[in-house]
Symmetry: D2
Subunit: 145 residues, 4 copies
């Protein structure tokens, strides 16, 4: 895994299935977009999460925070900004900003903490090479944004 990544940007368009009868995106779906951001972030480091899973690494979400600033609507172009804010031997933390791409309006800010588990579901240290690449990509959350 090569890399010098500090933030990745993922692009998507709101699907009809993601709206609810309030006419906006159903709130739980932003977590799906955060995961999409996380997937792109890990891929940018040189190895996809799909490959990591095939090697026995599992990253399970342990904590979530989300704050909703404005609502996304059907067909809106969306950008998810993803950063890795902390990493230990068995834990990672990501921060996300979900914005409307055409107006740059902040829609949701979110964080997720993840734990590294093995295939039986027990906490397990990440492989050393994976951790080294992740460590190089950390950008602490206290950077003023």
């Amino acid at each position: 895994m090569p890399a010098m990544v500090s933030e990745t940007i993922s692009e998507l368009r709101v699907r009809y299935a993601e709206t609810d009868q309030m006419g906006v995106v159903y709130h739980a779906n932003y977590l799906v977009w955060c995961e999409l951001g996380r997937t792109d972030f890990i891929r940018a480091l040189g190895k996809s999460y799909a490959e990591l899973e095939r090697e026995g690494v599992r990253l399970a979400v342990s904590d979530v925070t989300m704050r909703f600033h404005a609502a996304a609507r059907y067909d809106d172009p969306i950008r998810v900004h993803t950063r890795l804010t902390a990493i230990g031997s068995r834990r990672l933390a990501f921060a996300y900003r979900v914005v409307r791409a055409d107006t740059d309006t902040l829609l949701v800010s979110a964080t997720t903490a993840l734990v590294s588990i093995d295939m039986t579901g027990r906490l397990a240290a990440m492989p050393q090479d994976v951790r080294a690449v992740l460590e190089a990509a950390v950008l602490p959350a206290d950077d003023g944004r």
Copy 2:
């Protein structure tokens, strides 16, 4: 597995997450309810699908038809009527009627065909005991309804 089942009825209430901005249930979600009906049907035969999976049986959907008659809305009470309409050594077919429970309005009629596969995804005959119980529960679709 004991049993003398010909139709099961599953009950649920429409979740907000299942609606879309048209103010009705998003069409793909009826397939989730059909699967819920199938799960209840199999459980009624004496062994849950979760147990079948632990024994190595996998039933994968191979064909779907759905016809939409009327729309379900948030918080509506729903009933899914499920029948097994055909069974072979490696195939099953189910038929469903999704109705609004308080008015008996027919919302969706659907069918799914399933194939029995092993854990590697290849077609595989169902265990003889499972098949025997299923065969006893078949109610052909040409029964006039």
Copy 3:
């Protein structure tokens, strides 16, 4: 709206559609269950959220926290315990404990804050009668649990 409610318990069973390839419930789906708990809590106060919406009240999620303690699996029986922990003229806060019903294992603890908006999406005070009933049902979060 009559009432003297302090906690409601909602029951459900994990759907196949709610699992992911890690073999457990996909994390975003717990938010759907929390909303189901919230719906039942409001209904227990005497008026369903569906009715509130027809009267022009909209409650939009503004903040979410979730902590994952253990994983739910397909077909597990689930209970969602829901409490109202705070209420103002335009804001409410709920706390949830999602447990596995047959073992009482705590799976997820979560909170959501909601804001009252009108049909155009602007912050709007809740109707006085709705607020009065909600206020009678508040159980602050600092009650030692």
Copy 4:
């Protein structure tokens, strides 16, 4: 609306949320991808479905068929080929082929019929200009594929 479209191709990547514990994409999610294909098809004709809805046009799914040929997995690159196969004053029919983009493997073939309804849910003829553009884009299903 300009146009001379006969087939559109939509690209996406399988999300983790779209898998189930069988390790493949949950079958109902292909319908979400078909809708995405339909959205892109309509947009290619010169006016987005979001705009059509703002003009009062609603297209509701009335019939679905799906046949599953092979399973998509997490992170697979997917292409949805979408064609309009029939159109009347109040009805449209689309056909889809969902393929794995890197191997061209056919995963799912599907059809959906849609009806044009007004904002109260009643059948309503499509606006003449919308229908004219759609008619020019029809490619009947009996074209040998």
